[in-house]
Symmetry: C2
Subunit: 281 residues, 2 copies
Amino acid sequence: MECNGKCDSCKIKDQCPDTKKFFIQQENKIKERMSKIKYKIAILSGKGGVGKSTVSTNLAVALAKRGKKVGLLDADIHGPNVPKILGLEGYPEVREGEIIPLEKYGVKVISMANLLPDEKTPIIWRGPKVSGAIRQFLADVNWGELDYLIIDTPPGTGDVQLTIMQSIPLDGAIIVTTPEELSVLDVRKSISMAKMLKVPILGIIENMSGFVCPKCGELTYIFGVGGGEKAAKEFGVDFLGRIPIDIKAREAQDKGVPMVLMDCRAKEEFEKIIDKIIEKL
Amino acid sequence: MECNGKCDSCKIKDQCPDTKKFFIQQENKIKERMSKIKYKIAILSGKGGVGKSTVSTNLAVALAKRGKKVGLLDADIHGPNVPKILGLEGYPEVREGEIIPLEKYGVKVISMANLLPDEKTPIIWRGPKVSGAIRQFLADVNWGELDYLIIDTPPGTGDVQLTIMQSIPLDGAIIVTTPEELSVLDVRKSISMAKMLKVPILGIIENMSGFVCPKCGELTYIFGVGGGEKAAKEFGVDFLGRIPIDIKAREAQDKGVPMVLMDCRAKEEFEKIIDKIIEKL
């Protein structure tokens, strides 16, 4: 069989010496890049919409504000939201085969959102292509020396999570959940997966815990309360903290200003959570 | 090369005559099953946590209450939530190579959640295996004659959505979003995908629109308002309706009682949405 250069549809790609060589080279590149990064932390959740991207972005920005060198890898290929939260536009430069990450609020960022022509273009990719993109983000992006690389993942326990957990030695995983039963149900799966793949779990963050009525000040636990803490106890992992629902913070975030840059309760909670994380690492 | 029966890791499975035969047989089975179902509707969203499972389940139960024959396929393999919302436990029976769907509130249901040994076991599967499971749900489950098959999908535009859109002739897709910018951003991708794959879009449902303080009655648009309507206009698709946040309804749902079986505003909205859907089909 003659090589036509179309590896994706090649029937014998698994036996191809060139493909094997490429994988080994990529593996080595990932190892080298990751060796320059002190702490590699993945943000996981079983369920979507619990605020993984919000937590990832705010942790990254808050760490950068403390003078740390921070990178943020948006591994949600199908629904990349990090740039929206950061108000980050533009395309990353490619220099001598290396992708130069964009930068905002002192954080180096790579996201599929900055590689697409517009906001409505979907990435209709099956698993192997998604995993390939993630590996490229790890191998070809010039992260340089970092204290922290925060990896924002899509929900679930599928291709992306497997690829990340198998490709780099993670220093920890943080699990994000909302308080209600449905979300906690899926958290259990993420914790089990991290344990099976021997990734140390730093703890659980409960997001959207309670809402204060802007008119009368009444606190209502719209999505319940305590689900994150319950799951933490059940699995013997730490409970890192609770982020309240804050309309002003959410509105600012829709405009590209992360909560931790505002004066709000969510910010205080994030700071406490970061103290705990730093202590644990 | 001798066959060792391990198709998953086989290097030449694409050329294997047995595999091809299996696929053709499965294809035919899916066609036959689907021909007995009048309307096949997929519930999509770009982002997770917007309430796809809540919408899917409540639509299914409300249709059944109107005397329709309804099936509900939970295609979220990694985070199957439908059985929790329905309070549905137990394993489906297998009879003569056919899977007999479970039933609750008059709806036939198949979900990965009822095939796992417990709630915390994660399904750590890459894309091809996930697609295989979906195709099995379509081919091997004895749905019988149905008026409606509602398909609850995971978030995104990846393997599962592709498999469903390519395996069965869908009569329509309903897109679910929450009102805030971040979610609407991802909705655009789902709409584009459906259009690219020529699936007719029935419309957009906006979930979690506004919260009424139980103490003072103040209505607050926690996640903003109107994002779904805006996206509908932008893409020239119908806006089907708005489901408010309702604590009592959510609490009931945590206990396995879908909102449409309660006396609440969410129920009224669902009924209006169903009128529109029936009219459109």
